[in-house]
Structure formats: structure tokens, C-alpha cells
Symmetry: C2
């Protein structure tokens, strides 16, 4: 534990890999590109899941489970879809000791197989809308794997809905994007920009894709959730039709939307510092760690008496007591800092005598983040302090993003801006201009943000007329 952690300034990418592994969030699996999500990382993911699942159910969605294997010809029915996904497919060719007549794709996403089932289930307008979500593993072959960020297998949720009208489907797409943004900001303290994807970045087979984009601690962007308006593309490819109130047969309008274990990577990179993780209290598997301090058995008994009482009083909070004998308090402090526990409570013999405990905030290092609190006040102070930490992490992330966001008016300024963060700039809408920036700087259009300055401008690349600004950034 608490091995030497590379600093972010020295090598951000190495810092990320080390912190993920040393904090025991995840580890590399023996199959290239795959990862193991360790108990601490999985507990974090379980909290992400619970927070999202609650929101999905509150907005009328239900969960179901569709198969892992998809017949290869399903993938081919939607032209853009197969073009986008076939380079990434894992293919099962043998089953039960025999070669299969038709090979099976391991799902990279489930629009096709779910479309097939919806065609079977939906008959009438009375069956609509269908609002289903699934929690599942998916596989997309990955040549440059990074823990959580890009792995051949990952976990996610994929919502798939079918509607009677275009307008209703569009409302669903926006509603789920709003759910994602609200979740990211409220639960994970991760500020996001909502917007539309450019044609070159949209989901293979979608009419339009929408995204929430977050800025990581090195100024790069991470696409943190997407919501797709599939129009009638998949309904046509899979014959998802319904009889409307007038008895006419119509194609459904469908949507899909997803957030994956990638989001854990965002939490790590938005909040972490050179000491390790800093987890937002609402998602932290352990919100408070109590470290008792003693030198002999008498002190131990005295201190543990107080600690047990505290733990009991804090029972609505996720508290752990670290009473391991083989480690020093200093070792424990480092370890819990590395693991990003938002609040630490220290109780030593002197604290017992003074009827107090020392509370140390993970987000404010050193003395400044420490305060002595009377024992009787601890149960009230802890939830209040956790709220403050949650708030402060969010504010800090917003401030960091603002500081790294530029509004360039020339190509030169744009190129400089994307080297350190986000650049909002006028864009004429052409794939050529988008491509030129990517070629020169490796930055892409993360989204055309909903929030626009208004008016018109000149494209930052070609100088042509532009009606919208785009957010350019290098991305994970």
C-alpha cells in the first residue's frame, strides 16, 4: 500500500494506472484487454448502478435481460451499424464441441437483438412506449486497453425504448441525457457539458447522438454517457411496427442510451490528486474511516470504547474502523488517502481525555483540513462535512474546467487551447474542418453544446459562416 505514486504532473497516464491498481479498484486480467474489477472498485460501481437504477425506475423504466450472443446476420441489417462495429467484434465459432453453422457475435451493444424481440412483442399502440433497460457486459475488441477507460469487456447499462411518435422518442432521448447529467453532477460531483455529437462521432446507426462530456484532471475530455435518437433506422431494419389508433401499420421510433464502467475512470481522473483517489461522498464505498490510535492495551481498551460508540452513532453512514494491529496510524492514513475515503476520524488517548475526535477531510490536505470536534458533536458534524466535501469537489471541478476552457478566435489559439483543455469555437459544420483540426492536433469535436452563445460567427478553421459553436478537445 501507499507505494510511491507517480505525480500527475510527472506522468498523468502513469499516475492513473498506478492509482487504479494501488487503490485496488481494478487489475489486469490474464486475457489481453480485459480487466478484473476488484471489490473496492466494484463497490464504487454498485453505488453508481444504484444511483442510476433508482433514476431509471423513477422515470418509468424496467429492467430485463437479453442474450449475450447475436447472430452475425443481425449485425448486418443496419448498414452503418455493421460498419461501425464489425472491426471490434469478438466472434464465437465453436459451441458444444462443434463448429457452428452460423458464427455468433458477442454483443458489442444490443440494438439488433432487442429490436428483434421488440418486433415480436409490439403489436399495437397500446403496447407503447416500451421502456426497458438492461445491466450487462459487452465486448468491443480493444487494441490499446486502459483500465476502466477502454477495455475489451466492460459493464454498462443500455436503455432501449420504442415509441409511437418521433416527438415522444426525442423527448425520451433528452430526458435520459438530463438524467445522466443530473446523476453525474449530483452523485459524482462531475460537471458535464450536454450537447450533440457531430456526424463523425455519432453512434453507428443513430440519427443523432447526444453526450455528456467531462473534463479530466489533465484537461482532456471523457465522453461520460450518451443518448441516441435512432429514428426509424432500427425499426425498419428489424420490422418493429405497431398498429396505430386508426388501424394503420407504422414503424416505431426507437432510442438507446448508456453509461458504462468508464464512468469510474471519470471519477478517478476528475477528483484524484497526488496522494491518490478522492471519492465523492455520495458514491464512496467507505464514507468515513475511523483510525484508533493507542500504544498499549489500556489505551486500546479506552480508545476502542469511544470508537465503537462513534461507529454505532454513525450507523446511517458507511463507516469502517481500521483497528489492524500490524500497521502504524501513519501507514493507515496514507492507505485511506490513497483509497480516497472522504473523511477520516482519528481517536487517540488524548482525544478520549478531551472528549473529542479529530476529523480530517481528504479534499483538504494537511493541517487545514483537520479539526477537533467534541465527541457529542461528531454525529451531527459528519453528515454536514460529507455534504461540504461533495459540494466542494463539484465546485473545484467546475473551477478547474473553467480555468482550462478557452474561447479561441484563431486556429493558432485553438491549437494552443486544446493542448491544455476545452476550446469553444465557431464551426461551419463540415467534416473537412473537423478532420483538419483532428489531424493537426488530435483534438476532436466533443459536442455541439446545447448552451450556445447565440448569433453567428466564422468557422475557426475555414472562416466560412458558422451557426454553432463546438467544443474541441483531446479525448480519452
Amino acid at each position: 500500500m501507499a507505494k510511491d505514486l507517480t505525480s500527475r504532473a510527472e506522468d498523468y497516464s502513469r499516475w492513473y494506472n498506478e492509482v487504479v491498481q494501488q487503490a485496488e479498484l481494478a487489475d489486469y486480467a490474464p486475457v489481453r484487454g480485459c480487466m478484473v474489477i476488484r471489490p473496492y472498485g466494484f463497490a464504487l460501481w454498485e453505488n453508481v448502478k444504484a444511483a442510476l437504477d433508482r433514476r431509471f425506475k423513477a422515470t418509468g423504466h424496467v429492467n430485463a435481460y437479453f442474450p449475450l450472443f447475436i447472430p452475425m446476420d443481425f449485425m448486418e441489417r443496419e448498414a452503418e451499424h455493421v460498419e461501425g462495429f464489425s472491426p471490434e467484434l469478438a466472434v464465437v465459432t465453436h459451441g458444444g464441441g462443434k463448429e457452428l453453422e452460423e458464427p455468433l457475435a458477442v454483443r458489442p451493444t444490443s440494438e439488433t437483438v432487442i429490436g428483434h424481440m421488440y418486433a415480436k412483442w409490439i403489436q399495437s399502440y397500446r403496447d407503447l412506449p416500451v421502456l426497458i433497460n438492461q445491466w450487462a457486459n459487452v465486448v468491443r475488441w480493444e487494441m490499446r486497453p486502459r483500465l476502466f477507460l477502454r477495455t475489451t469487456e466492460f459493464l454498462w447499462q443500455e436503455g432501449h425504448t420504442a415509441h409511437a411518435t418521433r416527438e415522444e422518442a426525442e423527448r425520451e432521448v433528452m430526458r435520459m441525457l438530463d438524467v445522466y447529467a443530473e446523476f453525474a453532477e449530483t452523485e459524482a460531483a462531475v460537471p458535464v457539458i450536454k450537447g450533440r455529437k457531430s456526424a463523425s462521432e455519432k453512434f453507428a446507426g443513430a440519427g443523432a447522438s447526444y453526450t455528456i462530456e467531462a473534463m479530466m484532471g489533465d484537461g482532456r475530455a471523457l465522453q461520460s454517457g450518451t443518448s441516441h435518437d435512432l429514428g426509424q433506422n432500427f425499426a425498419r431494419a428489424f420490422d418493429i411496427t405497431f398498429q396505430d389508433a386508426d388501424g394503420e401499420l407504422q414503424h416505431c421510433w426507437t432510442t438507446s442510451w448508456g453509461i458504462s464502467t468508464r464512468f469510474v475512470g471519470a471519477v478517478v481522473m476528475v477528483h484524484g490528486d497526488d496522494q491518490g483517489l478522492i471519492l465523492p461522498p455520495k458514491l464512496a464505498p467507505t464514507q468515513v474511516v475511523i483510525v484508533p490510535i493507542w500504544r498499549d492495551d489500556d489505551e486500546r481498551a479506552e480508545v476502542m470504547g469511544v470508537v465503537s460508540g462513534l461507529k454505532e452513532e454513525l450507523r446511517t453512514i458507511r463507516v469502517e474502523v481500521d483497528d489492524r494491529e500490524q500497521h502504524t496510524p501513519g501507514f493507515k492514513f496514507n492507505e485511506w488517502e490513497l483509497r480516497g475515503v472522504p473523511l477520516r476520524i482519528e481517536v487517540g488517548p488524548r482525544d478520549v481525555k478531551n472528549r473529542q475526535a479529530v476529523l480530517a477531510r481528504r479534499d483538504v490536505p494537511g493541517r487545514e483540513g483537520k479539526s477537533a470536534v467534541a465527541l457529542a458533536d461528531v454525529p451531527g458534524a459528519v453528515p454536514r462535512m460529507l455534504d461540504e466535501i461533495q459540494e466542494s469537489l463539484y465546485r473545484r471541478a467546475v473551477a478547474f474546467r473553467e480555468e482550462r476552457t478557452a474561447r479561441p478566435t484563431s486556429r493558432e489559439e485553438l491549437d494552443k487551447a486544446v493542448a491544455r483543455g476545452f476550446a469553444w469555437a465557431w464551426w461551419c459544420g463540415s467534416a473537412e474542418c473537423e478532420g483538419r483540426v483532428k489531424e493537426d492536433t488530435s483534438a476532436t469535436i466533443r459536442c455541439i453544446p446545447f448552451e450556445q452563445p447565440g448569433g453567428e460567427g466564422e468557422c475557426i478553421v475555414c472562416g466560412g459562416p458558422a451557426e454553432e459553436q463546438a467544443v474541441f478537445a483531446r479525448a480519452y
Copy 2:
């Protein structure tokens, strides 16, 4: 809905398939052997999951996630394991558009890949025990698929633990078997027999396997959960070692245990009747359905006023109000019976006048199960009645099992007994005698039950000396 359901007496197997599909628990997927778990079936599975997960966490286990793909050579390291599983494997031979150098197995179970990771993580006795569970999908190629009971892909949990001593591992194996039995009986109202598997039925690679066996509505057995003592077999194959307190290097003792979506099939078959499902209240996605009855708008307003009040008062219960306009009350009654909702509340204009509601128990058909309850008493009566239904389902299942259980003392009696249920009989322990019964009757030894009559007897097959009784039955 409520299409003609085949009766159980007419064709049990067809009844099962119809009820699972008509009640919308599951449907066949476009890939042979795979299924889709529909929202109603998945909600039931979510309740199973929650009830088990709570118990796993209460007994000190944590969740994690290991990869879907396993290198083929991992499977081969434990001789019995590869022999048992290779005929069932699905194999990925292509990824990212290329043929793989080494093919990958889609996990049929995860002892091997988890063993590999444990070898990496475990160094010292201080790292033990490791108590990890994972919720995952697994694939075992299935030639004769049945929804929930045998599908190529299924969902399950698999616990994998590592211990410093044989005794501790053995205690873990028994503890989890007890957790399974208590879960099955308390939550699902499914009575089970705990016992040891015979050598021919044990998990491929285990030292000993333990099981909970339940009797289905046709007298057949369903293995409903298993707990395996893996000894040091996998620790040797994957080099899972630790330094003990004396500095000596030792192999760990490992266990694994699992319950799958198969269990949903048990719930269907133990409780269902000719009208459809009967779900145990503790697991039912909808515990109470309120069906309002009206003829015109005035009555509708009046009735719905009462119904809304009831729903609000029953908010700690999972209640649904079926106020669809296009269906008659009779249609709705049938549909909710098919779906097995434990308790129905009917409210019509006359009930409003009399300040009462009619409560109808799903487990007691017709008049006998109906009672008029004063509106003010409904909030108290509902949870009490749900408890009674839970209890009564359990008692009924126990009585059914007893009635179908025989204690034969001759081969002739045994053969007759297994045609209709369970047979407890002395067994000498030889694979020959076990095999002869299987060949003649297709019944297998479901387990050697922990509960033994004591003493000794003569083997029901060969007449040789026998120290234990076995439970023989035909099985799913």
C-alpha cells in the same frame, strides 16, 4: 393474456413452457438455447438477487467482477474440470477482425480465472480469508434448452473463497449451503433437502459438492443451489499459496458456491397451478393488485378516489393499480392470476358504499379465498394476509413433498416411488448400484441427505451393507 393454459395433469412440461411465456417471465431468443428474461421475470430475479446479496454481505462477503473470457489452457490445468466442462464450452476464435493466436473460452464457471487472480493477490495469512462473490452471466452449450431450467446462457452468482485451513473452508461450504437453504425456505417458500452429492454428480474438480434439492409440482427434483469444497485442487493448479504465521509457504483451501436463474424455474414449478403462477409474497414483483370496477364516469371517479387512498396507505407494499380502460374486470382477474400476484383487491361502487374492499387470495381459488374487509382495516389486513400466504405456500409445498416421498425397501418399490416423487433408500455407495437405478428408471441420486435415519441397512440395489440413505429421484 390468459390464453388457454394446458393443465399440469395433461402435460406438465407444456404447462411450464406456456406459463413462463404467457406470464411474460421469459421468451426464446433468436440464438438457439438462449433466452430473454422479460421485465416481469427480471423483477422476480432482482428480488432473488437482493435477498441473496443481503445474506452474502451479512456473512462478510464482497462483490467483484472477473472477465468473461478465459484462456483455453486455464481450463486444462485441473484435469477433472476440463473433462467436465469442455463438451459445453463456447469458444471465441476471432477478435477485432483477426483470428486469435489462442482461442478463448466463454466462462462456464470462473474457478480457473479467479484462481489465477487469487494467486496474484494472496501473499500472507493476513490476506486470508478472501470472501468474494460475483453476479455474472455464464455459458454452457445446451442441446435440450428449457426456459430458466437449462439455457446456453444463464445468470447466476458464484462465490469463490480462499482459506488458510481445511476446517475453515469446510465451515464456509456449510455456511453457504445453510444460507441457500434458509433463503429458499424463507423467501421463496421452497422447502429443500440439504445433502452431499454422490461422486458421479459432484462438480468437476471439487473434493465434495453439497446441494439443496427441491421437489417440483410433478414430483421431480430440481438442484436449486450448490456449495463445493474444492480442497486444494484449484490452489495447486493455479498456485494459490500463502505464507503462514511461521513463514512456511502453504496452498490455500478454496470453495465455490452458486445459485442461478434456474431458481426462478423452481419458484414457478413448486407453487404454480392450472391458472398460472403463484408467487411467494416476499419475492413477488407485484404483491398486491388493485382492480377498480365501474360502469360509468361517476362510478369511476368514486371508485378511483377510494383506490388512490388505498394505494397511498399501502405504500410499503409493492402495489399496482390496474385501471386500464380496454379490459373487463374478469379479463384482469385472469391476467393477474396467470401472473401469480399473491393478493388482489377489488373495489366496486357497492364496496365504496359499504366502505369495504374485497380481498382475494391467489393461493385459495374461488369464494373460499375471498373476504370483504372494511376499508379502515385493509392497511392492517394486507401485510398479515401476505404473511399467511407465504406461510401457507411453504406448508403446502412441504405437504406435497411428504405425500410424494416414499421409503422403499425393495427395487420394485423404489422404481415405483421414483415415478412419482422422492425415494429415500439405503445405498452401499457404489457407482454401479447408482448407475443401475439410473439406467432402469432415469432417476439419479439427488443427494445423500444430512438428515439420516441412523443405523445401517441393506443397499436397495445390491443388498450389500449400507451406512447411508440416499434420495433417489428423476430430476430436471
